[in-house]
C-alpha cells in the first residue's frame, strides 16, 4: 500500500468522503496544494493527462462545479466533453446504464457525473471500467466540494484537527454538508450543525456531530462557519413557514457573526442567496472566503483527476 512511507492511490472512482481513509483525504489535500500553483502561471497548463478523455455528464443543473471541472481537466491537458441531460439521448428514453455503456465504448477514461438520485454514481461505477467522479448525487455527497472546503480551511488555519466548524442552513438536502461532515470528523474537527428542526436529518448525531438549533450558541467560538442555501427545488412540502422567517432566524449578518472567533472564516458552497442565508455586506467582507473556495476548487479537482488517472492505468 505504501511507498517510501507515503500512501499510493488505488481507487479508480471518487464517490464520497465516506469511503476514504484519513490518509487518502490528506493525500488529495497535499496533491491539491502542489496543483494550486499551476493556475498562477503564465501558461496555466501541465501535460499530465495528455491523450486522456474526460466526459462531464451533468444530469442536474450546475454552473460552478461544471466550469470548475472543465477548467481542471483542460489545465491537465485532458480532452473533455460536457453533456447535459437536456439535449442528450436520455430525453429520448435512453437509460443511464446505456448512456454510460456508450460513453465507455467511445474509449473515455473518466466520467465526472452529477445525478439527482443519491447513490447513482456508486451503482454506475460497478458497471464500467471508466473512472467515476461523483460531482454531486442527490442529497448524498458532493466529495470534491467537501474536499475544497476542507482544503480552504486547512490553507487558512494550517490544520483541521481541533477546529470548530459550524454548518448553518438546510442540512437535510445538503450533499455538501454530508461530504464535509465525513471529511472533517475523520480529520479531527469538531462539527456543529444548526438549522430549523425540519431541515436537520434525523439521527445525524450518529456521524459524530453536535446539533444546536440556536444560531448564536452554535457559532459561539467557531473557527469557521459554512452557510448553506435553502434548496427550494428539493422541497415538495413546507418545511418552514417562510423565507423571510428563515432569514430573520437563521440568516447570518455582521453582528451575529461576531459571536464566532474574531479570526473566524465564513464559507459558502454557492449559489449564494443574498438577503436569505447571508447578509450582503457579510458576503463581501474580508472574513468571507467564498471566492477563495471557488479558486481552490480547480486545484482540488486537478488533484482528484490526477490521482484517479494513475489508478486506471493499473487496471489494464
Amino acid at each position: 500500500m505504501t511507498q517510501n512511507g507515503k500512501l499510493n492511490w488505488k481507487r479508480k472512482d471518487l464517490l464520497g468522503l465516506r469511503d476514504l481513509s484519513t490518509e487518502e483525504i490528506e493525500l488529495i489535500l497535499d496533491t491539491a496544494k502542489s496543483f494550486s500553483e499551476v493556475s498562477q502561471r503564465e501558461v496555466k497548463k501541465v501535460p499530465v493527462m495528455r491523450g486522456k478523455t474526460v466526459v462531464n455528464l451533468f444530469l442536474e443543473p450546475s454552473t460552478r462545479t461544471r466550469v470548475s471541472f472543465e477548467l481542471a481537466e483542460k489545465r491537465l491537458s485532458a480532452d473533455t466533453i460536457s453533456m447535459a441531460s437536456a439535449g442528450s439521448s436520455m430525453t429520448k428514453g435512453e437509460s443511464l446504464w446505456d448512456t454510460i455503456a456508450n460513453i465507455e465504448a467511445l474509449k473515455v477514461d473518466i466520467i465526472v457525473m452529477r445525478h439527482g438520485s443519491s447513490g447513482a454514481p456508486h451503482r454506475v461505477s460497478n458497471y464500467t471500467k471508466c473512472g467515476i467522479v461523483n460531482a454531486g448525487d442527490g442529497i448524498n455527497e458532493h466529495p470534491t466540494q467537501g474536499l475544497l472546503d476542507i482544503f480552504t480551511l486547512r490553507e487558512l488555519k494550517g490544520k483541521i484537527k481541533g477546529l470548530k466548524v459550524v454548518f448553518v442552513g438546510d442540512i437535510l438536502h445538503s450533499r455538501v454538508a454530508r461530504s464535509n461532515i465525513w471529511g472533517l470528523t475523520k480529520l479531527g474537527a469538531e462539527v456543529v450543525i444548526c438549522g430549523p428542526k425540519t431541515l436537520i436529518p434525523w439521527g445525524i448525531e450518529e456521524l459524530g456531530v453536535k446539533v444546536i438549533h440556536d444560531v448564536k450558541k452554535a457559532i459561539d467560538g467557531a473557527d469557521a462557519v459554512t452557510l448553506l442555501r435553502i434548496q427550494m427545488e428539493r422541497q415538495n412540502e413546507t418545511l418552514f413557514p417562510s423565507i423571510r422567517e428563515y432569514a430573520s432566524t437563521f440568516g447570518m449578518n455582521t453582528e451575529l457573526f461576531k459571536c464566532a472567533k474574531p479570526d473566524a472564516i465564513l464559507m459558502h458552497p454557492g449559489p449564494v442567496n443574498r438577503g436569505v442565508e447571508i447578509e450582503s455586506a457579510l458576503a463581501d467582507s474580508p472574513q468571507s472566503y467564498i471566492l477563495k473556495q471557488v479558486t481552490n476548487g480547480i486545484a482540488v479537482r486537478m488533484a482528484v483527476l490526477y490521482l484517479l488517472s494513475g489508478a486506471l492505468k493499473n487496471e489494464k
Binding site: N4, K6, N8, W9, K10, D30, T31, K33, S34, F35, E37, V38, R41, E42, V43, K45, V46, P47, V48, R50, G51, K52, A303, Y306, L307, S309, G310, A311, L312, K313, N314
Partner: protein, 182 residues
C-alpha cells in the same frame, strides 16, 4: 547482491566544485544581471541555494532562487501508476528575459532536464537557460549537455550515483554504488 560504495566527492570536494561553478557562472554571464537560479527537487534545490549564497557573497547582490518539481512533465507519466507523489513548484518570479541557471545533482539520461526545460518555458520565455550539475555520469539518451559540471564521473550503466547533502542526509558526499552486473 553485495553493493559497495566508492566515494568520488567528499565535503571539501563538493564545496570547491560549487565555488568554481559560481565563478564560472559569473564569468560567463558577466555578472548577475537578469540571473536567476532554479533548483530541481529535491537535491538540486539545496545546491541552488548554496550557489546563491556563494554568488551573493562574491557579487554582493541577491539572486532569486526558484524550486521546480518536474513530476508533471515526466515523459513516462502515462506509463506508470499509481501516480508519483507531487511536490510544490515555487517560482515566484516571471522568467521572461531572464538567464536561468537550472541546477540538479546528477546528470544521467537527460530526461529530467528535458522535463525541466518544458516546465520552465511555462513560466515565461527566458533569454537563456543554462545547466549546472554536481556530477555528470554520462549515458545520455537525449541531446542535452551541461554548461557547468562539478565533476565528470565515469560509471557503468547499472551503477547508482548517490549524492548526499547535509540538508537531507546529514553529510556531504557523492558516491558510486556498484549495481548488479548480471
Amino acid at each position: 547482491m553485495i553493493t559497495s560504495e566508492k566515494q568520488v566527492l567528499d565535503e571539501g570536494g563538493i564545496e570547491r566544485a560549487l565555488a568554481r561553478i559560481a565563478h564560472e557562472i559569473l564569468e560567463r554571464n558577466q555578472g548577475t544581471a537578469h540571473l536567476t537560479l532554479v533548483g530541481i527537487r529535491t537535491r538540486g534545490v539545496f545546491l541552488a541555494e548554496r550557489l546563491q549564497t556563494k554568488l551573493s557573497r562574491i557579487e554582493k547582490k541577491e539572486i532569486p532562487v526558484g524550486i521546480l518539481d518536474i513530476t508533471l512533465y515526466r515523459d513516462d507519466l502515462s506509463e506508470i501508476g499509481p501516480k508519483p507523489e507531487l511536490h510544490e513548484t515555487n517560482i515566484p518570479f516571471n522568467l521572461k528575459g531572464k538567464i536561468v541557471v537550472l541546477v540538479d545533482d546528477v546528470l544521467f539520461t537527460g530526461r529530467t532536464i528535458r522535463a525541466a526545460l518544458d516546465g520552465l518555458i511555462d513560466f515565461g520565455r527566458p533569454k537563456a537557460i543554462q545547466l549546472a550539475v554536481l556530477v555528470d555520469r554520462g549515458y545520455r539518451e537525449l541531446p542535452i549537455k551541461a554548461d557547468y559540471v562539478g565533476k565528470n564521473v565515469p560509471t557503468a550503466f547499472q551503477d547508482k550515483v548517490i549524492i548526499r547533502l547535509k540538508e537531507t542526509d546529514g553529510k556531504d558526499e557523492a558516491v558510486i554504488s556498484e549495481g548488479d552486473k548480471s
